[in-house]
C-alpha cells in the first residue's frame, strides 16, 4: 500500500530532475540564446519585403502572416477542431430548447439596477473594442480569435447581471447563434477555395489558400490600399473568424445556463423511453 502512494511522487521528482538537467545542458537550444534560427529569419525577411513579390505576405505583422498565410492549413484544422467540440456539446444536451416561459417580472430578476445600467454601458465598450481588434489584425497585434474571445465576455455579463431570458427575448437564442457560426465557417471555406475558381480566368495554376503571387501562378488578392500594405486575404479571414468564434462561445453559454427543471424532465423522458 505504501509503495502505491509513493511511486507517482518518485516519478514526478525524477522527471523534474531530468528536465532541469536536459535544459541546462542545452538540449532545447543554446543557453542563453542570442541568434535567430534559420527558419525564423526566413519568415521575418520575406513577410514584409516588397522587392521580392513571389514570397510576400503583404502585412507588417509577421505573426498574423504566419498564422493565416504561411501556415494557413494548421489554422484551418484548428478551426474545425473547435467546431467539432461545439457540435459534441450540442449532441450531449440534445432536446433542450430555450422556449421556457418567464417565471418572474423583468425588474425582480437579476441584480440591482445600478449593476444593470453599468453592464449595458460596459457592453457597448466591449463591442467597439473587440471590433477594433479584429479589424486591425493585419497591421498591429490582434486578430480574429482574440477579438472573438473578447466579445464572448458580453453574454456572460448579461446572463449573470440580468437573467438568461434577457438574451433569448432579444433574438440571441440557439438557432440564430448556430446560423451565424455556420455562416462564418462557410465564408472561410469559400475564401479558401476562391483561387481554384479563378483558374479559367487567368489560364494558369492556382493553389488552395493562396494570398499573393507565387512562382508559376498569377492570382492575387488586392494588397495595397492608399499606399499601405493591407494583407490581402488576411483581413477577410480575420473578420469571418471573429464572427464564428463569438457565435460559438455564445452558443456554449446558452446551453450551459439552461435551468435544471427542464433538463431533468427531458432526461426522465429519455430514461423511461428506452426501458
Amino acid at each position: 500500500m505504501k509503495a502505491k502512494k509513493i511511486a507517482p511522487l518518485l516519478v514526478i521528482f525524477s522527471s523534474l530532475v531530468a528536465i532541469s538537467y536536459a535544459t541546462a545542458s542545452q538540449a532545447l537550444g543554446a543557453w542563453p540564446q542570442t541568434d535567430l534560427r534559420n527558419i525564423a529569419s526566413f519568415y521575418l525577411k520575406s513577410a514584409t519585403n516588397p522587392q521580392q513579390k513571389d514570397q510576400w505576405a503583404a502585412s507588417p505583422e509577421v505573426v498574423t502572416a504566419v498564422v493565416w498565410d504561411y501556415r494557413g492549413l494548421d489554422t484551418l484544422f484548428e478551426t474545425s477542431v473547435f467546431f467539432f467540440a461545439i457540435i459534441s456539446c450540442l449532441v450531449i444536451l440534445r432536446g433542450i430548447s430555450s422556449g421556457e416561459p418567464r417565471l418572474e417580472k423583468d425588474s425582480e430578476q437579476g441584480l440591482s439596477p445600478i449593476v444593470k445600467v453599468t453592464t449595458k454601458i460596459i457592453g457597448l465598450m466591449i463591442v467597439s473594442v473587440s471590433a477594433s481588434i479584429a479589424l486591425h489584425g493585419q497591421l498591429t497585434p490582434g486578430g480574429g480569435f482574440q477579438a472573438g474571445a473578447a466579445l464572448a465576455v458580453l453574454p456572460i455579463l448579461f446572463i449573470m447581471a440580468m437573467s438568461r431570458f434577457a438574451l433569448t427575448e432579444r433574438g440571441v437564442n440557439e438557432n440564430s447563434m448556430r446560423f451565424l457560426r455556420s455562416l462564418g465557417l462557410f465564408g472561410i471555406g469559400i475564401t479558401v477555395l476562391l483561387p481554384l475558381a479563378s483558374v479559367p480566368l487567368i489560364n494558369g495554376l492556382a493553389y488552395i489558400m493562396q494570398n499573393q503571387i507565387k512562382y508559376g501562378s498569377q492570382f492575387s488578392f488586392p494588397s495595397i490600399i492608399l499606399d499601405r500594405m493591407m494583407g490581402g486575404s488576411l483581413l477577410i479571414f480575420n473578420i469571418l473568424e471573429y464572427l464564428a468564434v463569438a457565435a460559438g462561445f455564445t452558443l456554449a453559454f446558452l446551453l450551459l445556463s439552461a435551468p435544471e427543471e427542464s433538463v431533468k424532465k427531458i432526461l426522465e423522458e429519455e430514461r423511461y423511453a428506452t426501458h
Partner: protein, 129 residues
C-alpha cells in the same frame, strides 16, 4: 536569474501534475488540467526567446521598407514561429476544456456525485447507477 525563472516554471508544472493525480474530485482535476496547459505554453515560449538588448516584438512598421530597414529589424526581433503555434494550442485547449465541463455535468446528473471514489463504490455496489 534565468535559471531561477526556468526552475519555478518547471516546479509549477510538477505541482499541477500532482493535483491531477492525487485529488479525487473531478472539478479539481479540471482546474489542474488547465494550469498544466498554461505552463506548457510558457515553456514553449521561453525556448524561443533571445537574451539580447535592445529587443522588439516581430512587427515592422515602416511603410515601404528598404534592405537596411529589414536587416536592422532582423537583428532586434524575436522568433515569430512559437507565438503562432501557441495560438493554435490555446484554441484547442479551450475547446477541450469546454467539452470536458459538459461531460462532467452529465456525469453528475446520472451518478449524483462528482467524487471519483464514491462513483467507484456505486458502480461496485450495484449493477448500474
Amino acid at each position: 536569474m534565468v535559471a531561477y525563472i526556468f526552475f519555478s516554471v518547471i516546479l509549477t508544472l510538477m505541482i499541477s501534475i500532482y493535483g491531477i493525480m492525487y485529488k479525487p474530485h473531478v472539478t479539481k482535476k479540471i482546474i489542474s488540467l488547465t494550469i498544466f496547459g498554461d505552463v506548457a505554453n510558457i515553456l514553449a515560449l521561453l525556448v524561443g526567446f533571445r537574451y539580447i538588448y535592445p529587443i522588439a516584438p516581430p512587427v515592422l512598421w515602416t511603410s515601404s521598407p528598404t534592405a537596411t530597414d529589414i536587416s536592422k529589424f532582423l537583428s532586434v526581433a524575436v522568433d515569430p514561429l512559437p507565438q503562432a503555434l501557441i495560438l493554435t494550442a490555446i484554441v484547442i485547449n479551450m475547446a477541450i476544456s469546454l467539452f470536458i465541463v459538459f461531460v462532467a455535468l452529465q456525469v453528475y446528473r446520472v451518478y449524483g456525485t462528482l467524487d471519483s471514489k464514491k462513483m467507484a463504490e456505486k458502480r461496485r455496489g450495484q449493477g448500474e447507477p
